[in-house]
Symmetry: C3
Subunit: 401 residues, 3 copies
């Protein structure tokens, strides 16, 4: 049971070292991760703030699976596998200018190959030529929908049909972010990145600020390793807060607020603080007083990860602040910081493939990384331990026969 996992300790584990190279380079291990991690946890496809109006949709590919994410005419979020039940064709495709998001002009989804037409619940409405087939069952030929859960506006799906319920697995996160009313935010900016690094190197990079002083000259004006306080340290959910330094109000290029406070007002929890979390499967959160940036990681292989980064704002900022709504200010800081981080992850990936790489010791300030690696190994070795237990049970039973 995932949520029952108890980390050994939040502090330095004597002898704790980085993982062996194969965990960052082997495609076999990546395949195993799909089963053991990405199919066990829920997978985030973005935030509802990307599709704020009825009929909005976007197309996204996760672990090779093509999805349609849309807001229907009843303001409900729906997710479907973008696969026609007729001959498997993608039902929706990028529009003429190549965009993978837009607005549906009609109330149905129609495959552009043979015109099979589905309603916004995925039900098959018409299928040219199939009406002549006596036993054709429209009911069983709708679009396939993955299990879906919306948490704070984040759209989570599961790749398996019988996932561990979201509330059970994500217990420690539920309610934790209420002050910022994240579910109501809208998207102000987005960036996509292709990073030639294993997805776990990006998790590790995110979970320590020991590198900030060396690597992030701009970001370091606002936050630093010394002010970090972890409040979640049990593997699947890691992170905590950092005080915003030097009298700045937020992490923006001017240090001033760029938008209305998330949640409508500053609270003790939100004012002059950045909160940072990594959430398995694939979601990284950077919450600031007046904006939220998050990364969705889309692992492509053992050695490459696509990242979609969105900046979310209080939806009233635009109408209330007018020109003072300076959404580019946090983008500037983080576009620079993200580029610096992804390059570090790529340099780590390249070095780890060397025969000179050996697991190296973690410092005290990398305690979350130790927790992550430990939890990761536990997840990956899960079945093997069960197998051993079953074998022991069987041997024991044989002995007592």
């Amino acid at each position: 049971m995932v949520s029952n996992f108890k980390p050994t300790t939040d502090t330095y584990l004597p002898g704790a070292k980085t993982l062996p190279a194969k965990y960052y380079t082997s495609e076999q291990i990546f395949e195993k991760e799909k089963k053991k991690i990405f199919e066990k946890f829920w997978f985030c496809l973005g935030h509802t703030g990307r599709i704020p109006n009825k009929g909005d949709y976007f197309l996204i590919e996760a672990l090779g699976e093509p999805f349609i994410v849309l807001r229907d005419k009843n303001d409900q979020i729906k997710v479907f596998y973008n696969v026609c039940s007729h001959r498997g064709t993608l039902v929706c495709k990028p529009n003429r200018s190549g965009a993978t998001e837009g607005k549906f002009n009609r109330k149905t989804l129609q495959c552009h190959y043979h015109g099979w037409t589905y309603d916004m619940d995925g039900r098959l409405l018409s299928a040219p030529g199939m009406e002549e087939i006596a036993d054709f069952d429209f009911a069983s030929n709708g679009l396939t929908s993955p299990p879906l859960y919306i948490w704070e506006g984040f759209i989570f799906i599961s790749f398996v049909n019988d996932p561990i319920p979201f509330e059970q697995i994500y217990g420690p996160m539920l309610g934790r972010l209420e002050d910022w009313k994240i579910g109501s935010l809208i998207r102000g900016h987005t960036e996509t990145y292709k990073v030639k690094a294993n997805w776990k190197l990006i998790f590790l990079n995110f979970n320590e600020c020991l590198h900030c002083g060396i690597a992030h000259k701009t970001l370091s004006k606002f936050i630093g390793d010394k002010s970090a306080q972890n409040d979640l340290s049990d593997g699947p959910f890691l992170g905590g807060l950092m005080e915003i330094l030097n009298g700045a109000d937020s992490v923006t290029s001017s240090g001033q607020f760029c938008a209305l406070p998330l949640g409508g007002q500053l609270t003790e929890k939100t004012a002059r603080k950045g909160w940072y979390y990594t959430i398995l499967g694939n979601l990284l959160l950077n919450i600031h007083p007046d904006y939220l940036m998050f990364h969705c990681l889309y692992p492509q292989s053992a050695t490459e990860t696509r990242i979609e980064s969105d900046w979310l704002f209080n939806p009233d900022s635009d109408t209330t602040l007018g020109e003072k709504f300076a959404k580019n200010e946090p983008v500037e800081v983080w576009a620079k910081t993200n580029a610096e981080d992804w390059e570090l992850c790529e340099m780590a990936q390249r070095g780890i493939t060397s025969r000179a790489y050996r697991p190296g010791k973690y410092s005290n300030r990398e305690s979350l990384l130790i927790a992550f690696d430990e939890y990761y190994l536990q997840l990956m070795n899960n079945n093997f331990m069960n197998y051993i237990r079953r074998r022991i049970k069987w041997l024991t039973s044989m002995l007592w026969k």
Copy 2:
């Protein structure tokens, strides 16, 4: 025996569904297809209308094999593996501007590495340095030639040395196209495409026009699903005719003739009709009253296919019609239609890789696809059935001992 295959029926097979995903995605299956299909049937490398004059040649790669195709000084078509008998180097290479076709300026083929020189029959004429080697056998060091058959000007080779004779395997096609005198046509235009789809998806796409109304706005002005009449439906050779609609004379952007009739005059078989055939291994034919377009498919992997499309015309069109020879008119219609089709095939390829893909039911109007899939499976499982038969024989013999 290939040509003895009898399709179960030309009409809807209750329950017939698309193939499982692996047949479109597995490289292992693609390797098996090379043995079971592409080495069993003959493989088309284009049409003699591409090299109308003595000394004309082109270079082409098929299933990884490099070939030289040429018309020699006796007006004979010759095909050689483009591999020098000395150290394996490509004998002919693209010319300075990168073109893979042209005119030989001399009467020999000379390897540009060490100057081994062959005549147009592939015989080794000279080999610098080898004259000093007493036992060097010039006769056994010529260029290698694959089995060759010219049918209606189409240049077919076999990848194996002892193929099933062409006339035997292609019996149903022989003589069928005589009205159009295809062997005498010349090439007026060519296009090449790289399609990220399994080659079979292109065969399937070609074998039904159920999608034309939805996907081909331009083409649909001229032909439609309802006028289709299959005349070949037994797997290796599929297709039939479609009436040209709306009073048009041909499938051209104006609807008017663009060239002299193929065969010199219109006949009942050719006038106002398009004839469409898929011919295993890799040839797709679109025959119209005044031009022929064909596709040669060059599978690159399980998931990618290169296509060369040529437009052929009555060779008298140019001199007789002058400026009225409007060869661009059919190119316009088909360049658009081809692009639409290849995109559909790519969308199908992507959807089929999803875990949400399940074999879907075919409609009545996709009967040729059912025939193709059935025949395909029979070809692929051929050896396995033989294996089963052998095992049964052996078991039987054991029982009677």
Copy 3:
């Protein structure tokens, strides 16, 4: 013992043929070559003439391993695996403009991730955060250094910790090049190439000039097959001299000297001669009276090789000759010749993959290639022979029990 290898003969081996295709196409064989050849011989990473001044460095990747090569403040050449002992990150990276060489501005190497700092001997000087860890051992966390040997200025490393000593394995080469004082030369020009061919095809191409007349119109003005005299023909080290023809002084576009003589003066050995050697693992030498060009081969896979080519000159040429130091003249000749050679190697690679390829007979003038192939097979089958010997020994011991 490598240096004990005795080639059967320097002249034509009746029946000697090119190797089977798999040796040029199989990734499995390439993996085996890493063990049997590249880890057995030493591997050249370039020449000290590339980093003539204290603090100069360059980064280079060889067989997937990232290296830093530098000249320290004591004028010593040092090579390190470019892998931080902390979390495996590349310690040095290309500078802002992408260059992989330059000058160190400080006296230490600092990892740009968490600031671990090493001195120019590779010793770990500081590691932020690790001072809090009681048992952290600085001494064992320095940079890793491969075995290093400088011969005539060429920087050789070994991929294994206990290599056969350089002097032992390279005995036949030691002292042979003294006339040219190669160790003192400086780099005047460099080119890099990506060649889609197996590295051995480049060795073979280099070891015969039978192709020069056909393939190298420019080079043939200066040297030709007929004047070649082999002086090393025992597999790992192959080559010899060629007279410079037609009264030219050197192989330059004008035929005149472009720089001061290597070694300060012409000798009988150096005047009007080109000396050409291939040296396993990866070094190819072209020595001319007034310049040296060498290629370092960096195999990327069974079918691709990166090549770095450097032109070296007498370091006094610049100051003594002024504008008459025409270093572009040999570059012109060889840039053209190299391009011609790499294309031939690529054409050979493509042809060899064909099913029509069969091992072809070598001529008398390709005797070095026979020696190379023979020696190569002996290296590759080494362990297998040992295995057979061990098995025989074991069987014998059983018989006498």
